[in-house]
């Protein structure tokens, strides 16, 4: 009876050992794919282009505000 109990506990330990090894291996195999260097938001030229133009509308604003 005690032998059987011993065997059972060993089996359980064995399972845990294998499981932990397996999960470590899985993490090791996945990790290089997940870890990527952090990158700052790099807006394109279209987003940062200058939109201000000195149109007649804008010139009129400057003219009427200069007094």
């Amino acid at each position: 009876m005690s032998e059987m109990k011993n065997k059972q506990s060993l089996d359980r330990r064995g399972f845990l050992k294998v499981a932990s090894l397996g999960s470590a291996a899985a993490a090791a195999s996945v990790a290089p794919g997940i870890v990527t260097p952090a990158q700052a938001y790099n807006p394109g030229k279209e987003e940062t282009k200058g939109r201000y133009r000195e149109t007649d509308h804008v010139k009129a604003f400057y003219r009427t505000n200069s007094y």
């Binding site: 987003e47 940062t48 939109r51 804008v58 505000n65 007094y67």
Partner: protein, 198 residues
Amino acid sequence: MARMKFLCDADRCIECNACVTACKNENEVPWGINRRRVVTINDGKPGERSISMACMHCTDAPCAAVCPVDCFYVTVDKVVLHSKDLCIGCGYCFYACPFGAPQYPKVGNFGSRGKMDKCTFCAGGPEADLSPAEFQKYGSNRLAEGKLPLCAEMCSTKSLLAGDGDIIAKIYKERVVKRGYGSGAWGWKTAYKETVAI
């Protein structure tokens, strides 16, 4: 290259709040957010002054410096804009900004305030110019239309100036030279007597 700036002539601001209303209407800003506010100092006392405040589009913007997701960017016109797609609503920019410009649609803790909203100098956002998506997220893009921010354009006393920093600084300088400043200004003693000096 022109550098976009706001300049509020505090001697002319009459605290009508029309700039605030115009901004909300033009950009369809949601309830609870004011991209522009009028701040009054010494309210009700002699020497009271009002100033219209919004994002000042800082040269070295502290909001951009503290953003953990780096969602801010600066255009060639030196307008500080941000991407609402990247913003996580953490609130760091609000604490960093000396003008209290960043606003949030909801009251809540970290991450539950919604996307940050602020003055865009009427220059839209990262979406395509004048697209419905841009309008829905950031409001109108008047700069792309060849205009200036509406708050400044409709200021009745011509207190709020916007546009090329060099030009508006020159306009303000000419005004000060002509009228004097504070208690040295024309009409000051008639309005406030000799007792109030600024």
